[in-house]
Symmetry: C2
Subunit: 636 residues, 2 copies
């Protein structure tokens, strides 16, 4: 359990393959400009954002009222962070100039004492720091710190970094041991302060992060006391609901992933990062327990977490309803953050497996193929007439909207996808880790360069060309948990390697130009849920490689619940090209369709007739004609 | 389509058998006295009622404030109606004296102009008749009219009848063609006015009922206009939600059972009764369409209707979730009312089938075996940790409470069970109909007496001993839809009779003492839901005779979703005797239990091991140790 890597500039990990590069290009060319327009209220018909204007008003450059949620600033922060990664990948002077202008605004919006938050600056300056439970001041600060670090690393420009150091100093002067007691109602600043610490070397930021983490839950009545002291509320949230924000117990005593799932993931990510930074074993143990709780018992097959719309929250073990699933895009993104930090603590394939599950399914599903619309909620079943309409299903929209009043997910997705290289690679003194099968290249601290080519996820072939540096000895390649057979060749020779905790370790006397090729089958497979998952009993999910598949009405007609996939039926792949969703691999099989009854109930099981069935990758759902969708298929 | 019978005094239809008589005795000996105590706030730990005290205050006999819902009076009305049926079945001077005293109070609470409603009399006299949408004045009046008719028929005492005629006159003077426009927000008075008309012969009551029915939905903006006119709200209900109270279209144009399911059933019952009374074919057609909508596509296997807690409402075809089911006891009772009136319009076995389905399952489940606790909501699946706790499942309690703030269901169940004889029998000029297999006797208008003996539902044997009257020619016996084979003997001779629309018609030259015996098997059977019911796909429900069975954790351990019932496995019956639930027949089989996974998802289907499984009648669930329950079993 040692800290194995210092994640830093994206320049060391380039992505270039046929799957992710087009998505990154879409983010750079379409999503980032689109989101910039949104933030500037220039997209007709989309939810009003006003986020840039809020900064303009706070900076004294515009007149008007604050508009939006109390955490509106974070949309700008996440956009700037995505811009930073995009610039790092692909310089763009005009975009950089526009981002610089936004940063100028942010600097001007900062108060003389270092405070930065447009809501409280414009609207309720007298209420600053009184409502950590509901008011997201620390959360917004955290996101802006992340943006500041990313922008600094991408461009070398430190204006925003200095702004956020002043804000961090402001916070540090107020909160901590012997100062004012405080923990954020929405975790985020903890992980951001660790990034700020690493970017600046300022140990106070590490200590402040540790304070927020270690203080959490020590006084489980903190938010109640805070609420009583101030006597006002912003959202009317219950300060006694300490599970919601993971403040019910000290973090090391927490045993289950509970409450608001995004809050939980951001906290756990910070805990794992702090454990890696400090070597704190008790914190590592808590992270491990919480990771198991979240992913062994409370995660959808798509990597979605937080099964209930009420509180956007975890419920209890094995409670994973498909039609009312919340599975917020941000929560799956947060799980990737958490899994990535766990990988830095210990190399275990299951962390990379979770990243892969989330990335290729419950995260990518958050964005329309053309980058113009986004899901906040990612259901595994859509029922026309109910989904998005009936109260229990109101949150589970059957089509992606243009934007949201609470717009956390779209920019979160943008920043993750643009920084994907960091999730694909890792290193320690002698080893380079390939966690994800991304084409591109990785340059390690000792100057080793590994160039990868990948046709994943559509094909099971990845190759690595190595130019060894000074201390490099080992290339460690993740073998996904679902992959039972594979071959590895080095140059022309096939070699047999054991899988150790999900990784193959290839140690040799590396020569410049050595080429390692990994091949495996991505034949369609049937996946089952633990029988304690009530909603998936008797059902099967189709996967191919990392991709979860689903059925849509546009391919299969109405009443998808009438389709059975008999256990003996073979599933074939087909290469498709579609106007709306481009090229992809579908799965096809001859299913059985249950015939409807004369009466609602009868003593005979339904008769069936064979029908052709087509499944498409889950991440592509909702891009064609709106209608029914389901991931879990009844098994015949 | 002619009106075949004039349902009247319960004295003509006596119930006496080993299944229902103990339940009726329980109602008389336990439930009615218990509810009387509740209404008088004498049950510690139960929800406060204050319903009698409200009448006392309105009568000027007590000082204090009104307490309870705006429809609190109806609890007293339904209790009085149950008392009336109980007295008719089994005289009880003391109970009658106490009921007389309550009626004295009600008379004193009536205002000089005939108005009767304690909420508006005590609390908001200035707001009378301004809020038909929300305030239940007509609803409460309707229930008290039903009580008045029942009490008059049971005891011959007409004090309450006169009170309610004055109230009906008061309403008639205000509402109708050429008078103030008005329809009730919660239907009930329509069916009550028809009863009042039949008890008194006053045609104005028939006309007023017809006005309320025919006016409904003619002006779909009525509640909006009413709301705008008064400028205040009681519950904050949306006056535009015209589906909720079935006012979105004229009743003859309504094609789907929508909205609040109890409201819907009370309306449809009145529509069917009015159609029978007037021979109105268009109204009959609407009833038929609505009956099919409610029972062919929107009814649980238990007879429960109204699948959503939001608005206690119907949702859409085949949407019948088991764990979040609402399936209010009152709604199933309302469906029995409706089905019974449809039977008066046309003799079709499906109406009797629906009555039977509701009575033996989704209605009886509403009451604890000992009569002391009640369910409002009747889920088909209970999940510890979620049911009754988590927001989506909050309404689906895992155990019956003592009483409810909105206490509509317990007295509704009491009045239905006490008047069950009326649902069991019917007649027209020459024929007596046995709709339900109840032991007891029926005396027809021509003096025919049919005595029945029944061991239903535990055994498939019913016999009828006939003493023919002047015009009797035919005994028509309902054959349940699920019963495919039966034998009928007359005296000692077996005879073959066709089933016509669910009934066997036995016409002969009847002799005094002729005995007809019906025998059929009640062997366990598997029941399937139409494959369009998403939640029941791949599942099977066990039934025996009219009884739906369920699994409880107390018999089968946790994780009932892991139990499979293979299609080839035989199901045997066992006679049980239990401390808490008495004697009953259980179903037992060797099921397969799916083994849990090492990981949440895996590529192999679960392994299984054989386990003994025990199912109990659904109506008995929740009487032993609290825990998981499910009706629909995964089929292996």
């Amino acid at each position: 359990m040692k800290k194995m890597e210092n994640q830093g500039s994206l320049k060391r990990c380039r992505v270039k393959d046929n799957f992710w590069t087009p998505i990154q290009e879409l983010i750079s060319d379409t999503v980032i400009p689109y989101q910039e327009k949104i933030l500037n209220d220039k997209v007709p018909g989309a939810e009003k954002s006003h986020a840039i204007e809020n900064f303009r008003i706070a900076a004294g450059e515009s007149q008007g009222e604050f508009y939006g949620t109390v955490f509106q600033d974070s949309d700008v922060a996440k956009w700037l962070e995505a811009v930073a990664y995009s610039l790092e990948r692909k310089p763009d002077e005009k975009l950089e100039a526009r981002a610089d202008a936004v940063i100028d605004l942010i600097e001007k919006a900062q108060q003389p004492d270092g405070y930065l938050n447009t809501y409280f600056t414009i609207k309720e300056p007298e209420h600053r720091w009184q409502n950590l439970q509901e008011c997201h001041e620390l959360y917004c600060a955290g996101h802006m710190m992340e943006a500041a670090v990313a922008y600094y690393q991408a461009t070398g420009k430190d204006k925003l970094l200095k702004v956020m150091c002043r804000m961090a100093d402001h916070i540090d002067a107020r909160f901590g041991e012997g100062k004012q007691e405080g923990i954020p109602g929405h975790e985020e600043i903890e992980l951001a302060l660790l990034r700020l610490y690493r970017a600046t070397g300022e140990k106070r930021y590490l200590d402040l992060s540790a304070y927020f983490i270690n203080q959490r839950g020590k006084n489980p009545h903190f938010f109640e006391e805070e609420s009583a002291k101030r006597g006002w509320t912003h959202f009317g949230m219950d300060p006694k609901d300490t599970e919601y924000n993971q403040s019910y117990a000290p973090v090391r005593d927490q045993r289950e992933a509970v409450g608001h799932s995004v809050r939980a993931m951001y906290l756990y990510t910070a805990m794992a990062d702090l454990a890696a930074e400090t070597g704190d074993k008790s914190l590592y143990t808590a992270c491990r327990v919480l990771f198991e709780s979240a992913t062994h018992r409370r995660m959808y097959v798509t990597g979605g977490i937080g099964s209930s719309a009420h509180g956007e929250a975890f419920t209890q073990d094995y409670d994973l309803p498909n039609d009312t699933a919340y599975a917020e895009t941000c929560a799956a993104i947060g799980l990737v953050f958490f899994a990535r930090k766990m990988l830095s603590l210990e190399v275990k394939g299951e962390y990379a497996d979770v990243m892969e599950r989330c990335l290729y399914n419950g995260i990518l599903s958050g964005m329309q193929k053309d980058g113009s619309r986004f899901f906040y909620v990612n259901p595994l079943e859509v029922i026309p007439g109910l989904s998005g309409k009936w109260p229990e299903y109101k949150h589970a929209l059957p089509a992606r909207p243009k934007w949201y009043a609470c717009a956390c997910c779209p920019p979160n997705l943008a920043r993750l996808v643009e920084s994907l290289g960091e999730y694909a690679w890792g290193e320690n003194d002698t080893t380079i880790y390939s966690h994800l099968y991304l084409g591109g290249s990785y340059t390690s601290a000792d100057g080793t360069v590994v160039k990868s080519q990948s046709s994943y996820p559509w094909k099971g072939k990845v190759s690595y060309e190595v130019k060894p540096g000074t201390s490099f000895t080992t290339l460690a390649i993740h073998i996904p948990g679902w992959c039972k057979e594979f071959t590895i060749t080095v140059n022309e020779d096939e070699i047999a390697l054991p899988v150790k905790d999900g990784y193959c370790y290839l140690t040799r006397d590396w020569k410049d130009g050595d080429k390692v090729t990994l091949s495996f089958s991505v034949k369609p497979r049937r996946v089952y849920a633990d029988p304690r998952v009530r909603e998936d009993a008797g059902k099967v999910c189709l996967m191919r490689g990392p991709l979860v598949y689903c059925l849509e009405a546009v391919d299969n007609g109405k009443n998808l619940c009438r389709l059975l996939l008999p256990r003996s039926v073979s599933i074939v792949t087909a290469h498709e090209k579609d106007e709306d969703i481009g090229s992809y691999v579908s799965l096809r099989f001859t299913g059985l369709k249950e015939k409807s009854f004369k009466h609602l109930y009868q003593d005979q099981p339904p008769e069936t007739e064979p029908v052709p069935v087509k499944a498409i990758p889950y991440f592509l759902w909702g891009n064609r004609k709106q209608g029914e969708m389901r991931v879990w298929i009844n098994e015949g």
